[in-house]
Each structure stands twice: as C-alpha cells, then as structure tokens.
C-alpha cells in the first residue's frame, strides 16, 4: 500500500530495501540518459567484454539517442588505426566546439568598439581570473584548427578519399577550410592592437583590388565599413567572427558530417579493388563498434589534444598583444597571419588583381573542382603519380610563397632604419628589440659607442677617448650645419651639453647588446660607410630611463636599395655640390621602465 496516493520511490524502498531500490533507481536513470545502456552494459563496454544481453544494448543509443544517431554504430577495422586518418577529421570537429566554448568565455569580457576593445584585452589579462589562459587557448586553438583542417585536406588528397562517391564531401570540406581560414582571420582584428589592425588592413586591401574598380571599392567599403578600418569595421569583423561565419560553419559541418556517415570512411587505398567502394559493406569480423572502441578512442584524442594545448599555453605560448591600434603608424615588417603569407608572397610577384584576387580564387576553385576533374578510378599510390606530384608541388609552392610573404623577402628598408628597428622595436611575434631585454640595473646611465668593439682587446678605452676627442673637435656634423649636440638637444629633445662616451662594462647585457649593435653596423658597412653607432642612456624619471640610439655614416651612392660598388667592391661616397662628403645621422629613442619586464615569465 502506497504511503502517497501514487506509486513512489518510498514504496520501492519498503518493498525491496534501500540498497536495491537505490541501485535500480540509478540504473534506470543511466539507461534513460544513455538512451539504452544500463550500468551493467556500460561496465561491460568499458571493460572490453562482449555484451551479455540481446539485442546488443550498445546499438541502442545509435537508434534512440539524438547525438549518436549522427554517428555510425560501427566502423571498418582498417580506418580506426592511426593510419589512414590520424584522427584529423575528428580533431577538426573538436576544435569547432573548443573554439566556441573558449570564444564564448572571451565574449563575456569583450565589447566591439575601438574605444574599449583594447582596454577589454588589458582587463582580460589583468583582472579576469584565467582570462589570459582562455585567450591563449582560443588563439592557439584557432591556429591549431587551421593547421589540422589543412592537414585533414592533405591527408584526404593523398589517400584519394575525394573520389567517387565522395566528391561532394570533399567540396563541402573545401568550403569548411575556407570558413576556418576566414574565422581565424576575422578574429585577428578583435584585440584592436597594432598586429590586428595592420594584418587585417593587408588582408582587406586585397578585397579592394577586386576588379572592376566599382566592385572592389564597394566590397571594401562593405567589409571595412569605411575607407579605413574603424568602429564600423571592427563591429563588422566581430559580427562575422561570432555570428555569420560560425553559422555557416555549423551548417557545413552538418553537411560534411552527413556525407561522411552516408558514404562511410573510405578504406586505405590498397584494401579495395580498383574502382570499388566497399566502405559501406563491412564484414562481421572487420567491424569495430562505436561503443566502446571508437568512443573511447575519440575521448582519448580530445584529452591528449587538450593537454598538449594547455601545456603549450602554460609554458610556451602566449597570445600576442601589441600596442594599441594606431592607423597613423605602420609598424616595420607588417605581415598577414601565417596561413595567408602565401597570398602576401604572391602579391610580391606583380599585379595586385592577378596575384591578390585571381590567383587565390583559382586555387580555391581548383581545389573545389578537383574531384570532378580527376575522374580516374584507381586510388592506388602507384597509379596516381601525376596527382601526388601536383599535391607535393602545391605544398612546396605554398611553402615558397609563404616564405616570400615574410618581410625578409623583397622588402627594402634603408640599413639605418633596419638597425634602429632591430635595436628598439616593441615585442611582437616573440621578437623584441635588442636593447629592451637588458636588465634595468645593467642599463647604466652613460654614453656608449660601437667603436669600442672595433678596438683590439685592451685598447678599448683609448679608442673611445680618441673618439671623444674627434667629437669635441666638431667631427661628424649634422646636415644643416648643426653639431651632434644641437641635433640631440633641439631635434630629439634630449638635454645634453657634452658628449663623453665611455666603454660598456664587460660581462653586462648592455655590453652584449652593444656588441650586437656593432656587429649589425659591420654587416652594413658598405651602406653605412665609416659608420658608428651610439647608445645614450639617461636617468629620466623615478624608475624610468631613456635610451637614445644614434647612427652616423657617410652617405653613399645607392641604386635599387643597395649601395653602388666600385671595382674594389667598395661603396662610393656621395658628394655635395662643393665636392665634399655628406655625413648622415639617424636616431630613435625608447623609454624603459624598471617594471616593464620584457619577456619575463608570467607570474614571476
């Protein structure tokens, strides 16, 4: 007799005792949650035993559950090893969810407005517990996703899995690849730092090149929300990044997945007769069931991947955050994100329209159309020499183009501005000016000169004092008839009344930096003829030092960004109207605060 007007758990306890009633209750909950497997079934599955009851309860979740109905209940044994799939497709899917979750976390702390976006970044870094961690994971995950999706495509190409009947699976995969690239790229702008602004400016300028002009101009306006990227552009990229592109991505992930399940995973090329596709007909002894084998494998791969990412962001990788975006100042050596370097490299080959628009379009269209063009039946390696040659040729080509996209290739800056940049640039891409990491204490106020490093050992002090004498005699005048002191005092606002250089103390980081400086000057001795470099460290404010870098050299004849050489391989001094040489000077300065910690470990 029930104590309540309806049958209840209390009646069960009365009838069966607490222990048994509880166990049966839990068992029922588990069975409902898994859509068909009770505790005993799960236990058997995880132990690797055969199912003890019939019909096989491990097939039930595929039949009755929502999530697993999208997955096949068994796979062919040959596609469950490392080869041929390397779990790249599964990891791509995982990254879609990984990026969504970390992205939502960041979204909570972010407002897409140029007024506050950068401040939001600082706040995420300085005030949000695990904020930097999430940002690092999201950023690293994005880069990893681009890499994994690309490798997934490469693998599919190599094993010829795009062939009939999977042409459309490949087609939708190329769309997913493009969406992945664009997702990653559109996220680039959001921190609103210099890196973001200029990488995206380069990317968006390709849109502007689309012919005819009226189309390019208007596409550019649509994307950037104005002639330059500003508040509108940031909002558009944000909406593309969090709404439009993810929506498309989820749709195409669905399409892609459906096609994968429909046609089943293609077997390794060698296991089938030419022209056959037996993936759907899996003999009983070749079946590997999703529960428990593939499921445990997938969860394990998620675990390993996540662990690798977390290890990387704990010790090796931090998402870059450069100075606040500044449309007025273009940093030297701006590049597109690494996965678009090949476009930047191609742009250096010539016409913007051909290499910036037509060429990438051809690449994408070629990839999409490839399974419809390559209709040969065989998937065997030996029968696909041409296709494999194309694949490796393209891989090599993209590598070379990407290298060409680097600022090291084909971008000519004058030697003096390159050296100043190398010495003083702010941290970017784990690269920092030589002078910035010098410990604050070793940055002793004083004046230092590269001449010290051209002296014989033991002779440094006299070389430096000889140089001081030269300066005192009015050597190295600055254009416009000014002395160096006037140049520094009036032109650079560095209050100096005399120039007295000393030797940098041996064994200090400053000494090393000066040696490096001297080495750079030596490498550029043709362009910076009779050149010297000076570093002037001034105590500026409590805890703040000013560091001036000054370069002085004889102007030489230049052609095409390189010095003209005479018969002896020496550069030729340029002369003014009176036939005398021209002394050039260039300088830059930075301020270094004792707490600035350039490249110290986080938390130290």
């Amino acid at each position: 007799m029930s104590v309540l007007p309806f049958p209840s758990f209390l009646d069960d306890i009365k009838e069966k005792g607490l222990k048994r009633a509880l166990f049966e209750g839990i068992n029922e909950v588990v069975e409902r949650a898994t859509a068909g497997m009770n505790v005993q079934d799960l236990r058997e599955a995880l132990r690797g035993d055969a199912p003890s009851r019939k019909p096989n309860p491990r097939l039930q979740p595929h039949a009755d559950g929502f999530w697993l109905h999208m997955r096949p209940s068994y796979f062919h044994k040959s596609v469950t090893g490392l080869y041929p799939e390397f779990r790249l497709g599964w990891l791509s899917t995982y990254f879609v969810f990984f990026e969504t979750i970390t992205g939502i976390f960041l979204m909570v702390w972010y407002t897409p407005s140029p007024d506050v976006a950068y401040a939001n970044m600082l706040s995420i870094m300085a005030n949000v517990p695990l904020g930097q961690f999430m940002r690092d994971l999201h950023r690293l995950g994005a880069e990893a996703m681009v890499l994994i999706v690309t490798l997934h495509m490469l693998r599919t190409f190599l094993t010829a899995s795009y062939k009939k009947p999977r042409e459309f699976t490949w087609f939708s995969g190329v769309i997913l690849l493009a969406l992945t690239f664009f997702l990653s790229f559109s996220g680039y702008l959001l921190p609103w730092d210099q890196l973001a602004l200029w990488a995206v400016t380069i990317g968006a300028s390709m849109v502007e090149a689309a012919p005819p002009e009226i189309v390019g101009t208007n596409l550019n306006l649509l994307l950037r929300g104005g002639p330059e990227i500003g508040a509108n552009g940031l909002l558009r990229f944000y909406l593309l990044h969090v709404l439009a592109v993810p929506a498309l991505l989820f749709i195409f992930v669905g399409v892609h997945y459906y096609k994968v399940v429909l046609h089943a995973h293609s077997l390794p090329p060698g296991e089938e007769n030419i022209g056959e596709d037996t993936a759907k007909r899996v003999p009983l002894d070749k079946r590997v069931y999703f529960i428990p084998d593939v499921l445990t494998s997938e969860i394990m791969w998620i675990g390993i991947t996540t662990l690798v990412l977390i290890v990387l962001v704990t010790w090796f990788f931090h998402a870059p955050l450069e100075a606040h975006a500044n449309p007025q100042s273009t940093p030297l050596g701006t590049t597109a994100p690494w996965y678009f370097l090949w476009v930047q490299g191609a742009l250096k080959l010539g016409d913007k329209v051909i290499w910036g628009i037509v060429f990438p379009t051809i690449v994408v269209v070629f990839l999409m159309a490839y399974p419809y063009l390559d209709v040969t039946k065989s998937r065997r390696w030996a029968h696909r020499r041409l296709q494999l040659t194309i694949a490796f040729g393209m891989a090599a080509g993209f590598t070379v183009l990407s290298y060409m996209g680097l600022p090291e290739f084909g971008v000519i800056n004058s030697a003096d501005s390159e050296i100043l940049h190398e010495l003083t640039k702010e941290p970017a891409f784990n690269h920092v000016g030589v002078l910035l990491p010098v410990p604050y204490d070793e940055l002793a106020p004083g004046m230092y000169i590269t001449r010290q490093f051209q002296a014989e050992p033991g002779d440094e002090a006299s070389v430096v004092s000889a140089f001081n004498a030269e300066i005192a005699n009015g050597a190295f005048p600055v254009e416009g008839g000014r002395t160096l002191i006037q140049y520094l005092d009036q032109g650079q606002h560095l209050p100096v009344s005399s120039l007295t250089f000393t030797t940098a103390a041996d064994g200090t980081a400053l000494h090393e930096a000066m040696a490096e400086f001297s080495h750079m000057m030596e490498l550029e001795r043709l362009e910076l003829r009779n050149g010297w470099g000076a570093v002037i460290v001034t105590e500026w404010q409590p805890g703040l030092k000013r560091v001036d870098v000054v370069l002085s050299w004889d102007d030489v004849e230049m052609r095409g960004g390189a010095p003209v050489l005479d018969a002896n391989g020496d550069s030729i001094p340029r002369l003014d109207a009176n036939g005398s040489g021209i002394r050039r000077v260039n300088s830059d300065h930075i301020f270094i605060h004792e707490n600035a910690q350039y490249f110290a470990a986080p938390g130290s």
Partner: protein, 368 residues
C-alpha cells in the same frame, strides 16, 4: 608499432591514456588557477610600466616644446615636474603644529601661562621655518607661494591629480592664451585633438610618475623654471577694486542718483562705447523686437512717457537713469518685464551713467 598499440589496439590503454591526459589537464589548470593572482598583478605592474614608457614617448613628441623635456616648464608653459603640482608642503610639520597652537590660544579654557608658552613656541617655529623659506626664495620670485603649496587646493579642484591631468589634456586650457604666449590646445580626439583616450591615460601615467612622494626636495622646487600662472591674482584684483571709482549700487533711489550726477558732463563717445560694447545695451535695444529701439528714445520719453502721471516732476535724464538702474520700476507697454538685467547699478559709475545718457540724447535731439 608501439604508438599504435598504446593508442589504438587495447581499450585499457586508451582509457588509461585518456584518464592520465584529463588528470594532467586538471592538475595544470589547477596550477594555473593558483598562480592567477600573482600573474594578474604582474601583468598589471608590467602594463602600468609600459604605459609610462608610452607616455614618455608621447610627452617627448607633443609636450616638450612648452613644458620642457624634463618637465620644468618654460616661457611657453608651466612646470609639471614640481612638488607644487603634487601638493608637497615643505613646511607641513611646522604648519600643522602652528595651526594647532594658534587654535589652542584662542580657546577660553587656555590658561594665561599656556598662552605665553604658546607664543614662545610660535616664535621658535618661525625660526625653524625661516631657513627653509629662505631657501625657497628663488621659487617664490617665480610665483611659488610656500603657504599655498598645492596646485589642486589653490584651484579648488575636487578630484584627484590623475583626473585633473586627464581633464586638462582632454580639453586643454581654452583661455590660457590670455596669460601664456599660446593657449594649451585640446588633445583628445573627442575634443578635436590628435590623441586617443588611452594615449591620454599613458601621458597622465607618465606625468604622475614624476611624483617623489615625501622625497621631494627644495632643489626640485628650485629647478622649476616656471610655475603656473594665475589669470588674475585674488589680492591684486581686490586692490584694483579698492582703488576703483565707486559704483552707483542697485539699491540707490533715483533721487540720490540725480544728486550724484550733478555737475558731471557726459562724454558721448564713451557712452557709445559702453552702450555698444562693454554693457552691450545695443544687443537688445536695436529693432524694437525685444526692447524699445535706441533711435527716438529721447523724443518718446519727452512726448509720451513723461506725460504719464507717475512721472510728474521727472526730467528725461531722471527717467533714463531710473530705467537703467531700476529697469523693472516701469515697463514700457508691449514689452516683457524682467528681461533687462537689474545689476547695472553694480557695473556703472556715475560718470558712466552720465556718458550713457549723453549718448542716448545724442541719438535723438530733444525737442525745442
């Protein structure tokens, strides 16, 4: 292949590897979480340091010309690297004691004996201050007042120094051109200037970094080349006012005004200057829309207003004097009451009033 065996073939291995991976994740995330406070503080410190660096860069590029490379000021702008801006009081200790003693001396409960001791101590304190005041003399000559040592207190600024600096950077000093060679421009993009708000914050951080707290020395004060200028010094202004000709006053009855006007002859030229310029009468008295027009006033007063019974015995001068000093005593029909300012009594002298009346008369000769 070992990797194949470990990761693929046996379910126990997969479960083991997966479990170890998840454990590793939890340990690492836990470890990161434990260190988060330290990391966030380190980032904050680092960020503030770099803000000062960027501020220094901006200052050198934009502010040095007027405020000097080291912030000591000059002919074009005041010093920022100065104890005065940060409100450091070199006489703080003696001042605090002196104020306490002075208050105590005024209390009824203080004994005469104690009062004597207090006045002795006050003399001693003065002697203690004397050498410091002597040292600061050079700064005093440049406009520093040792007894009003805080810029913000002198300005009556309610907020903190960072707010003061930031606000000044945003808007500039629009009227400072009247006491400096050139007004300080607005620097914020929102106010039409070139800098973003984060750059203004960097600049503020840089200027604040000059603060030495309790370490300021008189040498720092003496290094200053130029202290802030005050548009009008309060004392000077009071002296000016004391020597000025007396104003008529808003309460003075018209009969007394007429006595004051006796013997004065109006200067039409000066009256016109007052009417069109300083007092801005012509701003309203122009086309009969807001106030009766200037032209024909004299005729209207003679032929219309003075016929009214209340103006029996009035001369036109008296009518005009009353209309200027007590504008609401009579409102010309069809015009609004209370529109004309009633404070001209505070603003004009008897001579000014006489000049004004002469000017109005000159605009329309009296009849007969």
């Amino acid at each position: 292949m070992n990797l194949q065996r470990l990761l693929v073939e046996r379910i126990e291995h997969r479960i083991l590897v997966g479990t170890v991976a998840f454990l590793g994740i939890m340990v690492l995330v836990g470890w990161i979480a434990i260190n988060e406070n330290g990391r966030m503080q380190a980032f904050q410190r680092q960020y503030e340091a770099r803000a000062i660096e960027r501020g220094a860069e901006l200052f050198t590029a934009n502010c040095t010309t007027c405020h000097g490379a080291n912030g000591y000021g000059g002919a074009r702008g005041p010093a920022l690297n100065t104890p005065y801006l940060f409100g450091h009081d070199f006489l703080a200790e003696t001042r605090r004691e002196r104020l306490g003693l002075e208050t105590e001396a005024t209390l009824a409960t203080t004994s005469e004996e104690r009062k004597v001791a207090i006045s002795e101590r006050l003399v001693a304190l003065e002697a203690l201050e004397a050498p410091i005041r002597q040292q600061m003399n050079a700064a005093v000559l440049k406009g520093y007042n040792p007894d009003a040592p805080s810029r913000l207190a002198n300005l009556g600024w309610g907020g903190g120094l960072p707010n003061f600096l930031y606000t000044t950077l945003v808007h500039g000093r629009p009227t400072s051109g009247s006491y400096w060679p050139q007004a300080m421009a607005a620097w914020a993009q929102r106010a039409g200037g070139p800098l973003r708000s984060d750059q203004l914050e960097d600049l503020t951080a840089y200027i604040i970094n000059w603060d030495k707290g309790s370490e300021w020395t008189v040498e720092d004060l003496l290094a200053v080349q130029q202290f802030p200028k005050v548009p009008a010094d309060g004392a000077e202004l009071a002296a000016l006012l004391a020597n000025a000709e007396p104003r008529i006053g808003v309460e003075t009855p018209v009969e007394e005004i007429m006595v004051g006007l006796e013997g004065l002859s109006g200067d039409v030229q000066n009256g016109q200057t007052l009417y069109n310029g300083v007092l801005a009468c012509s701003g309203c008295h122009m086309n009969a829309a807001v106030a009766p027009p200037t032209e024909g006033t004299w005729t209207r007063v003679n032929e219309v207003r003075l016929l009214e019974p209340q103006f029996a015995g009035y001369t036109p001068e008296m009518y005009l004097a009353e209309s200027i000093i007590h504008p609401n005593d009579y409102i010309v029909p069809a015009y609004g009451a209370g529109l004309m300012p009633a404070n001209f009594g505070e603003r004009v002298t008897y001579q000014d009033l006489s000049d004004l009346i002469a000017y109005i008369a000159s605009q329309d000769q009296p009849i007969g």
